[in-house]
């Protein structure tokens, strides 16, 4: 690997930084992986990393120590879509001997920010660096880099100008395995990239004859995985390359080279908690291997490691396994819930299970095949024995169906190919559940597992963010709370498959660090997002912790499953079609050092009328020495309410105003609204480089309007005077006289001053108007009236009515009498 050389190349190719929307905190982490039981020096590269304080990992096994700000880059590096590398932080990752292998998401807390998610990987093998000091150093057989068996080679495709081939020489013995898997797509932390990360691997003998190759695999998708039994003692070559040349930089990979077995599937692919499962490993070139696997006590996904450098996905379920009876056409299922297991062993096969159900019973039937990395593309059907047609069929699924509530629809994940359906039995009796491959394919590793369990009520939470390319947007979803301040995040709510709960919800937090509390308004039925506010006390210690936000029914008698989820794309394309996405089940919250300002919204003493506007007074409380501009806006308002775009309180300004408007469809009632404010440096769109605070919630009441106006269609001739008359329907009594403004008049028609004023009891509102000689003739249909009511020292603007004004030509002379 040639990190230093790479940096030099990058610098030579740098261009002036662009301000733009897709600025992420961490753009590169070098090296990309480290070995268990070692301490690795790691540098993080990106923007807004200065004053690094702490790193938090989502999984156990790694500690970051000795964080140190390095000097910023003299010439920033520009990346796709305005991403930049300007700063760097050095630290050490202490990797425990029992650290789980695989990917480890983490974030960095700085003095003022919590960075976006980035990734580091842990391997069970010792690492060796490719160290291709000069291009072509390891591109030929004779120059292949010697490496020991059971090693992880940390390499880089230097394909930014011409194709690169990396060759490794390893000694093996006759009958021994040579297994290689290359992590490239899976390994990256890069936000935007193209096909350059698609690598392939070939195993060659010392004369260059190919023993085996792999480009893509069902288990690792774009990343290759290959295994062969060596024919004789001697040297062998591992070749890593792009199958199709594509330029690109930062194309790092980890090639795990070992003499371990490399099965591609396990059968059955799951069992019950704590069970010692009798299973068989499938797909290894040496054949099947029966073994016992001890399952953990926790339900859900389980990763079986064995002696492999990457794991095989399995499941732990609360109910017993039912194994397909190969000799029988149909396998009986004694009772539900159950986990059905089988293999579609040959093309065209279909497996059938017979089960009993009572009319009205609701089950969630979720298939695991592609999710487990097997090649099966499953479809299922459930039909009553003797019935005419299936009661339910399933092929592809949606992400929420698969329990991936936070994953954006454009992200690419293999789970979508596995069906997940809710089946409500329409009869009592015996049913058949069938499964086959959509493409009528089959094979020894086409393993599936079907989990059938009662459908449950479930609502899950995720930080709500809808931004370009589905990228993480700290502006909206970062839980970074300045000490002694507050911040508000919109939490999205996603119903679990089969959920039937429709009532009000309340939100609770679990795992908040000391000194931080959450304030969450009750969630009205039907609402899919709700603002949740976090308050850090003045003495809350700067720190970072993982926590959950859960939904629960207001009525404690109701049962509801809940959880938290957040998803992050990597290797994205414009449009959000990322190759790789990472999903975590907790959120990271940081208490950061004090912000230089806080804001307060003056609770409005007056309501926001339907079809009206309400101006909120905002107070910016600046710490001594802080004079910079502050932007603020409302990121959440109730349905039917709209807001003005971001408002900037200029440097030194301590007071500002912010307007809300309510449409006719807004729901009257009392709502909690907060304003979010930021400094103006850094990047607006994703919010990197900004300090954020929010106001406390204030109650905003949406109320019926004061009055409704009905227009008398009017006409006016050029050069003449006329009137626009509105009938007034009072809904609420007006206090005192009220201003009225006529909107939508064409150029050349104006109101004759003084404009009319309106008071309680007035039946009509009459505007005297005058038309110029050159006003355009025609009909103007968008007249509106704005009423300005002053109450409790504040101003309510209400728009009402829709009027018509026709502009006619002047009368040239006395009109002729109509001819008879």
């Amino acid at each position: 690997m040639r990190i230093a050389a790479s940096i030099a190349v990058l610098l030579c190719g740098a261009w002036p930084a662009l301000a733009g929307p897709m600025v992420h905190h961490i753009e590169a982490v070098w090296p990309r992986c480290g070995s268990r039981g070692t301490t690795v020096e790691v540098t993080l590269h990106g923007v807004s990393l200065e004053q690094a304080r702490e790193i938090i990992f989502y999984r156990p096994g790694i500690r970051a120590i000795e964080l140190e700000d390095l000097p910023p880059y003299e010439r920033p590096i520009s990346l796709h879509h305005s991403g930049r590398i300007e700063e760097q932080v050095r630290c050490k990752f202490v990797i425990a001997a029992d650290c789980p292998i695989g990917e480890h998401p983490f974030r960095l807390r700085t003095a003022t920010e919590l960075t976006g998610l980035s990734m580091f990987a842990v391997t069970k093998f010792p690492t060796v660096d490719e160290a291709e000091a000069r291009r072509g150093d390891n591109d030929l057989l004779a120059k292949a880099k010697p490496v020991p068996m059971n090693v992880t080679a940390r390499g880089k495709m230097d394909s930014d100008r011409m194709p690169d081939v990396d060759l490794y020489r390893v000694s093996g013995k006759s009958g021994e395995h040579l297994s290689v898997e290359v992590d490239s797509v899976w390994l990256t932390e890069k936000h935007y990239a193209e096909l350059e990360f698609d690598l392939m691997v070939r195993l060659l003998d010392d004369r260059g004859r190919e023993l085996a190759r792999n480009d893509d695999s069902a288990l690792h998708v774009q990343d290759p995985i290959v295994s062969a039994i060596l024919p004789r003692d001697g040297d062998y070559i591992v070749e890593v390359r792009q199958p199709i040349y594509r330029t690109g930089s930062f194309v790092y990979y980890a090639a795990h080279i070992g003499n371990h077995r490399r099965p591609l599937a396990v059968y059955p692919a799951g069992g019950q908690p704590g069970q010692t499962l009798s299973a068989t490993l499938l797909g290894d070139p040496a054949g099947e291997l029966p073994l016992k696997i001890g399952l953990p006590p926790t339900l859900g996904d389980f990763a079986y490691e064995g002696d492999m450098p990457s794991t095989l996905p399995m499941r732990v379920s609360a109910y017993p396994n039912v194994l397909e009876v190969r000799e029988s056409e149909e396998t009986s299922v004694a009772s539900l819930p159950a986990a059905l297991n089988g293999i579609i062993e040959s093309p065209g096969d279909a497996d059938v299970f017979q089960l009993s159900a009572k009319k009205g019973e609701r089950y969630r039937v979720r298939v695991f095949a592609r999710s487990l990395g097997t090649p099966l593309d499953p479809r299922i059907w459930i039909e009553r024995v003797g019935g005419d047609s299936p009661e339910v069929e399933g092929d592809d699924a949606t992400y929420p169906d698969r329990g991936l509530y936070a994953v954006g629809p454009q992200l690419q994940r293999k789970e979508l190919l596995d069906p997940s359906v809710v089946w409500q039995a329409q009869h009592s009796g015996t049913y058949r559940l069938g499964i086959s491959d959509m493409r009528s394919l089959g094979g020894p590793t086409f393993v599936y597992r079907i989990e059938i369990e009662p459908a449950s009520d479930a609502v899950f939470t995720y930080p709500y963010s809808r931004v370009i390319d589905n990228v993480e947007c700290p502006r909206l979803t970062s839980f970074a709370i300045a000490q002694g301040n507050r911040w508000t995040v919109n939490i999205g709510l996603s119903e679990g498959q089969g959920n039937q709960y429709r009532g009000e919800l309340e939100m609770i937090a679990r795992g908040l660090p000391p000194g931080v509390r959450m304030i969450a308004p009750r969630v009205p039925a039907g609402y899919k997002t709700i603002p949740v506010q976090f308050v850090a006390s003045a003495d809350a210690r700067p720190q970072v912790a993982l926590f959950e936000v859960l939904a629960r029914p207001v009525d404690p008698a109701q049962k509801l499953i809940s959880g938290s989820q957040q998803a992050f794309p990597f290797l994205g394309h414009s449009g959000g079609h990322a190759w790789r996405s990472v999903v975590v089940d907790r959120y990271a919250l940081a208490v950061t050092e004090p912000a230089p300002f806080s804001i307060e919204v003056v609770p409005p003493a007056i309501p926001l009328a339907l079809n009206g506007e309400l101006t909120l007074d905002v107070i910016i409380m600046r710490r001594p020495g802080f004079h910079a501009p502050v932007e603020f806006q409302a990121d959440w308002v109730p349905n039917g309410v709209d807001v003005q775009p971001t408002v900037t309180a200029e440097a030194g300004q301590n007071k500002a105003q912010y307007r809300l408007s309510a449409g006719a469809a807004a729901k009257p009632g009392k709502w909690k609204i907060a304003l979010e404010a930021t400094t103006t440096g850094g990047s607006y769109y994703l919010g990197v480089g900004r300090i954020r605070v929010s106001s406390a919630f204030v109650d905003v009441t949406i109320a019926e309007p004061y009055l409704a106006l009905k227009n008398h269609p009017a006409s006016i001739r050029r050069g003449q005077r006329g009137q626009v008359i509105w009938d007034v329907d009072h809904k609420k009594p007006l206090a005192g006289e009220t201003e009225a403004v006529l909107l939508g008049l064409p150029k050349g028609v104006s109101v004759v001053e003084p404009a009319p004023r309106l008071k309680a009891g007035d039946k009509q509102l009459v505007f005297n108007i005058v038309a110029s000689d050159d006003v355009l003739l025609g009909q103007y249909k968008e007249l509106k009236c704005e009423i300005v009511v002053r109450e409790a020292g504040q101003e309510i603007r209400q728009r009402t009515g829709t009027g018509i004004l026709r502009v006619d030509p002047p009368l040239a002379s006395k009109p002729q009498e109509a001819k008879r």
Binding site: V9, L10, C12, G13, A14, W15, P16, A17, L18, A19, G20, P21, M22, I77, S78, L79, H80, H81, S82, D160, R161, T247, G248, S249, R466, V467, I468, D469, H573, S574, G575, E613, Q633, D635, D642, V643, Q644, P645, T646, R659, L660, S661, Y684, Y685, L743, G744, K747, G748, L776, G778, Y780, K781, E782, K784, R799
Partner: protein, 459 residues
């Protein structure tokens, strides 16, 4: 490293920008593969095919056209059609500037508002597709893209219709032909735009590639290169029966080389001799903060004026990236002051020189933007109603034509289909856009299908 430099905007607009950049990378001969020699050769052939014998077609009041295009979709609300009375979520972040006649533009166009008596704003243009590539093609050709027929750009039609004037290429693109704007379509490639391949408003010295001896090549070497070309062409002449054609080809390159040293061409294709006051009139010092480079629009428009003054018939200029899905306010504050200054300067300058009545200035964008601000402080694509600017060339002075409704969602009055808009521009040039041109295979195709003259726009 080879990271792609891509600015903001939606995916499609980013892709378009890549396309345009790709065109630049292959240089002046990029999208159409034309050099000046090719162009002049084409022009002479056009004359030989009939124009010279039949006499020039009758020109309209607009003898030349400067087409300033704002790619990405500039917001009508923040430019020519503000909605100060709309609800807050529609209104946008800016106040208004009043014209002398009492109309309002966005405050971003205060200078243009002061010269509003020279122009017509059409506030009721109706496009078809809120899609960058298709809408750009539609605007430049009058047709939405088809897999069957490639339609020519308006500049190519003008080039084909009138041919060169005073020895200058009839159709020039500053700095280059815009991606997805089409090309010469079913017309011969000889009618394509002469692309400068250099930006008069850029950071480096401005040199039009065909008019400059390449850097690092001495005049002596250049002469040798010319000799080498003569030798090859002479050889070809001996090999091919069509000696006339080869001779003509030689002639075209000869003309290209003569232009290289022709003082008139050098002057037209440069900004030499322009005073500081003139450069200031167009606004020469604006810097785009987002890109940290000069805005350049003033110099582009000044060069466009010099070109039409010298005889070029159709000049396209493009400026900025207006796909403001996010951060609309900052985008406007960054790019609009230079645009406002340059447009006002151009109209003032043309009028002062007595050129405005014979030069049609057209400021376009492929579509407008959504009535309501989105939650990222931007506006998205909107083709149902938007605004364009026309001035000179017989267009009514001091007029706002048509209107959008209260939130700029639909036309409220005098809707102008894009085809009608283009038909009217053709009309001012003296081209009846109902006429048919012959595509290969002798298929007649109307210049604009189903277009009509918008009488209210022309004086």
């Amino acid at each position: 490293m080879n990271e792609r430099r891509v600015a903001s905007g939606c995916q499609q607009f980013r892709d378009m920008r890549v396309g345009r950049r790709a065109a630049l990378q292959v240089g002046f001969c990029g999208a159409l593969g034309l050099s000046l020699g090719d162009l002049l050769r084409g022009e002479a052939r056009a004359l030989a095919q009939g124009h010279a014998n039949e006499g020039r077609p009758q020109e309209g009041p607009a003898k030349s056209i400067i087409h300033l295009h704002l790619p990405g979709g500039m917001a009508q609300q923040e430019s020519w059609d503000p909605k100060p009375e709309a609800p807050v979520e529609y209104r946008g972040p800016f106040q208004v500037a009043k014209t002398k006649s009492g109309e309002v533009f966005s405050e971003n166009f205060g200078r243009t508002a002061r010269v509003a008596d020279k122009l017509t704003i059409v506030r009721s243009v109706v496009g078809k597709i809120p899609d960058h590539s298709q809408a750009t093609f539609h605007l430049f050709t009058g047709y939405t893209p088809s897999t069957v027929i490639e339609y020519p750009q308006m500049g190519a039609v003008v080039s084909q219709h009138f041919g060169p004037r005073r020895g200058l290429p009839p159709y020039v693109a500053i700095p280059n032909n815009l991606a997805y704007s089409g090309g010469t379509g079913y017309l011969s490639s000889k009618y394509g735009a002469f692309q400068l391949g250099a930006d008069p408003g850029g950071q480096g010295p401005f040199k039009v590639q065909d008019f400059s001896i390449p850097q690092g090549v001495s005049a002596q070497q250049f002469d040798r290169r010319r000799s080498a070309r003569n030798t090859i062409e002479g050889h070809l002449r001996r090999l091919h029966a069509d000696a006339d054609k080869q001779n003509t080809m030689d002639d075209f390159y000869g003309r290209a080389y003569s232009l290289l040293t022709s003082p008139e061409a050098q002057r037209a294709f440069s900004l030499e001799g322009e005073s500081e006051a003139m450069l200031d009139l167009y606004g020469q010092h604006y810097i785009l903060k987002a890109r940290r480079e000069p805005a350049g629009i003033g110099k582009r428009l000044l060069l466009a004026r010099r070109l039409v003054e010298a005889g070029v018939r159709f000049v396209t200029v493009n400026y900025g990236a207006w796909d403001s899905h996010t951060g609309l306010k900052d985008d406007c504050l960054d790019k609009m002051p230079a645009l406002d200054h340059a447009v006002a300067g151009l109209l003032t300058d043309l009028d002062d020189r007595g050129l405005l009545d014979s030069t049609l200035v057209m400021v376009t964008t492929e579509f407008g933007r959504t009535p309501k601000m989105n939650n990222a402080n931007g506006r998205d694509h909107w083709a149902r109603v938007y605004s364009m600017l026309l001035a000179g060339g017989g267009v009514t002075r001091g007029q706002v034509y048509g209107a959008s409704d209260a939130t700029s969602a639909e036309p409220a009055r005098d809707a102008v289909k894009l085809e009608d808009f283009l038909f009217t521009v053709y009309h001012q040039l003296g081209i009846n856009a109902d006429d048919e041109l012959l595509a290969f295979g002798t298929r007649p195709i109307e210049i604009i299908r189903d277009g009509k003259l918008v009488k209210g726009i022309v004086a």
